[in-house]
């Protein structure tokens, strides 16, 4: 048992840190420090910088255009991005659709899509959830019928994150309504410019436009845009969701938030002195720091076992990552809002290019923190709600 990073890994961390310090635009960083999502232009600019360094897809194998890193390197890289904070490689491209194409796609699909994914020439979005298929994803109803050299797609997707930016969408569609739920589903790739697609914004409680409804009305998708086999799309979906879980711990991001929290608690006054002097407040922060340290060690365990595992079965510790990772992030966002006090409540829109409230009344460090708190309630819902995670644990690891 040796739980330290090797010298080579420590040197790698420094290399990543130096790269970020040199290349990350100050405005992008400032926006993220304030708790706001980077703009589309900022995400694209950063992804292209990563791509020109060969770092656009930390998890991809070399032959697909990835850097061929070990699990430890991938972890270090992502942790450094989160801590900076810098935008992560776009998840829809790099961690969702890309890996599915690498695993299940044809040579033509790989050649056509992967390089453009890496460079964010195409922004992808995910067409999975539907109004009637949330946690019960396999209950999806969007239909695709083969007609000539096309699939004709009809139906509705929802919670489609950043569809307003997207050039392409990857879709789960029902291709055999007679088969059992999971067995009649296929995985399609669809150009967002295809006639018949309508994107309608969903504004979330904090006022931001992040998610959308996407309607398909006789949308023609070329037959060659099927990934994997017809009616075997559920295999792709399971594979994709398995990849998603790994990234949900976000230890570096929470560490950055705690650092920010401590700074704000020095600025924010309470009872005539900095809030950080209040023992009750400090203890709340400490409880989170401890949970985060335990989570960090759990991530290390998962990395170490997954590196060696041949059967590809996840470690029981893996389930902890989503539940604890999101709980910790949510607690951070709550304490940040509380630390800022009343100035956290100045309404703004953290996802607009410019805040919708341009009255400059709050201190910089306080603005938008309530919005982030409200927005981050999503974390325990998306990516398989935390209750679904508990179902998975009960079934897979406890045999209940």
């Amino acid at each position: 048992m040796d739980l330290r990073f090797t010298d080579a890994e420590i040197a790698f961390r420094q290399e990543v840190r130096d790269f970020i310090a040199k290349e990350l635009p100050a405005e992008t960083r400032a926006r993220m420090v304030a708790g706001r999502s980077p703009t589309k232009a900022q995400v694209v600019e950063w992804q292209q910088k990563l791509n020109s360094r060969g770092w656009a897809a930390p998890e991809w194998p070399k032959e697909a255009g990835g850097p061929g890193w070990t699990l430890a390197q991938r972890y270090i890289f992502r942790e450094e991005l989160q801590q900076a904070p810098a935008p992560s490689p776009l998840g829809f491209n790099i961690n969702m659709c890309g890996p599915v194409i690498i695993e299940f796609g044809t040579e033509e699909q790989k050649k056509k899509f992967l390089p453009r994914m890496l460079n964010l020439d195409d922004w992808w979005c995910q067409g999975f959830s539907e109004p009637g298929a949330g946690s019960d994803l396999a209950g999806l109803k969007t239909r695709a019928v083969k007609e000539g050299d096309h699939w004709v797609v009809n139906g509705q997707k929802t919670w489609t994150t950043l569809a307003q930016h997207a050039d392409w969408i990857f879709l789960l569609v029902r291709t055999d309504p007679a088969a059992k739920k999971q067995e009649g589903i296929s995985f399609l790739l669809c150009d967002m410019k295809t006639p018949g697609i309508t994107v309608r914004p969903i504004i979330t409680i904090e006022g931001g436009h992040e998610v959308n409804e996407v309607f398909f009305d006789d949308v023609k998708v070329p037959l060659e845009n099927l990934v994997g086999q017809e009616n075997r799309g559920w295999d792709c979906a399971k594979f994709l969701l398995g990849n998603e879980r790994f990234g949900q711990a976000r230890v570096g991001a929470s560490r950055e938030r705690i650092r920010r929290l401590k700074l704000i608690a020095q600025e924010s006054m309470d009872g005539g002195e900095p809030l950080m002097n209040d023992p009750d407040f400090r203890r709340k922060v400490t409880e989170i720091e401890v949970e985060l340290k335990a989570l960090e060690m759990t991530v290390m365990r998962v990395i170490a076992t997954e590196t060696k595992r041949k059967d590809k079965k996840p470690d029981p510790a893996t389930s902890v990552l989503k539940i604890k990772g999101t709980e910790i992030q949510q607690m951070c966002s709550e304490l940040l809002m509380k630390a800022a006090g009343p100035y956290a409540w100045v309404d703004g829109d953290p996802d607009e290019e410019e805040g919708s409230n341009d009255v400059d009344v709050a201190p910089d460090w306080a603005f938008g923190l309530a919005g982030v708190y409200f927005n981050w309630r999503k974390q325990s819902i998306y990516g398989g709600s935390n209750e679904i995670q508990r179902n998975i644990m009960a079934k897979a690891f406890l045999g209940l």
Partner: protein
């Protein structure tokens, strides 16, 4: 980064598991508890044979040459059987003081005795007013010729009733809560000026109330004017072992609960089929795995050279392990229902040990306060 055990570590783990599997069933444990010592001398001799009593000592001093990982592994196994023997007191705490505070001459005399199972040690530290503050010491040590004489009263001396030698913290200088002026002394437990009253604790272990009235120290460990850094170091090593013990006990309480849920029938089906209970069990697993992760962090941090960083790391260990063991302990009782409330059933005994384990050398709340007041883990 590598969480795999070496071949030797695996052998060690297996041999302890095998011994306890044979000799430490729940009924056997009850029988050991009823003996005058409250634990088994026969098992103790077998620990000696397996090398568990010489575990943390250097090989050229008669030990096994184990480090924090070996200690963690053994502690976890002992926790799985909620064993009663004075391993923590003698080997982890006593051994820690000998390794970190004793002269080479003293070590060469005592280490072989400890390793052979012939010398039992106990740590006389807590006092009525001290609660969890290691520096809050009113017991005094007065210079007398070339030796020291100890006067005062120590409470909750774990395994103090069967110990041969007591390791005593006593004040050589300064006020009652000064960090300087605390020394560490060895005192013959059966010698003049030492009065012991043994008793059983709620977790089935033994402890003693010890009155020192001018008892002569047989040795000084470390610097008698400034022994607190030594005490901190040994307590931190002990916290790492307690973490392992807690993980072992939690694992069994958890497994026992899951097994019971699958067999207990209500409303015509196993209670394991109810989602409210499944989710609670999943939360127990989360708590257990977070604790296990933190026990590894404890093993790494036991070797941290910067004492302030080490203290903070161990405080974090105490907080996480404490939170986890409270939850797993309480919920293992809750999910069993009435059966786990009975003294004949093992689960309650695990719960009691987990409860005491949390409080040893300070509970989670104590360490949250400590960590919050020393800047936490993440630098601003």
């Amino acid at each position: 980064m590598d969480f795999d055990l070496t071949e030797e570590q695996r052998l060690l783990q297996d041999s302890v598991a095998r011994l306890l599997g044979d000799k430490y069933g729940f009924e056997q444990r009850k029988a050991y508890m009823k003996t005058p010592d409250g634990w088994s001398r026969e098992i103790w001799a077998q620990y000696a044979e397996l090398g568990l009593l010489g575990l943390p000592f250097a090989e050229d001093e008669g030990g096994f040459g184990g480090g924090p990982v070996e200690t963690l592994l053994v502690a976890e196994q002992l926790g799985r059987a909620i064993t009663l023997e004075p391993w923590l007191s003698t080997v982890v705490i006593g051994g820690g003081f000998l390794r970190n505070g004793a002269s080479a001459a003293l070590r060469s005399k005592l280490v072989p005795q400890v390793a052979a199972g012939e010398l039992l040690l106990a740590f006389a530290q807590a006092e009525r007013q001290s609660r969890y503050d290691l520096f809050d010491v009113q017991t005094t040590a007065k210079k007398d010729g070339d030796g020291w004489v100890i006067t005062g009263r120590k409470g909750y001396v774990v395994h103090g009733d069967s110990a041969d030698t007591l390791i005593v913290t006593a004040r050589t200088a300064g006020g009652a809560r000064d960090r300087k002026g605390v020394g560490v002394f060895l005192v013959d437990a059966k010698g003049p000026g030492v009065q012991r009253r043994g008793y059983r604790t709620v977790d089935g272990q033994r402890a003693a109330e010890v009155e020192f009235s001018g008892a002569r120290a047989t040795a000084v460990l470390g610097n008698p004017e400034d022994g607190l850094p030594l005490v901190d170091q040994v307590v931190d090593e002990t916290i790492a072992a307690l973490a392992g013990e807690a993980v072992g006990a939690m694992q069994v309480a958890h497994d026992m609960t899951i097994d019971y849920m699958k067999t207990r029938q209500q409303f015509g089906r196993p209670i394991a089929s109810f989602q409210a209970l499944q989710h609670r069990a999943a939360d127990m697993l989360v708590a257990l795995e977070q604790a296990r992760s933190m026990s590894y962090y404890a093993a790494i941090s036991a070797e941290e050279r910067n004492p302030a960083e080490r203290r903070k790391a161990m405080a974090a260990v105490k907080v996480q392990i404490g939170r986890s063991q409270r939850f797993v302990g309480q919920q293992s009782i809750q999910l069993h229902g009435g059966i786990a409330m009975t003294i004949e059933y093992a689960c309650g005994h695990y719960f009691k040990r987990l409860t005491v384990n949390d409080a040893m050398f300070g509970d989670a709340d104590h360490y949250v306060r400590f960590l919050a007041d020393t800047g936490g883990l993440v630098a601003a």
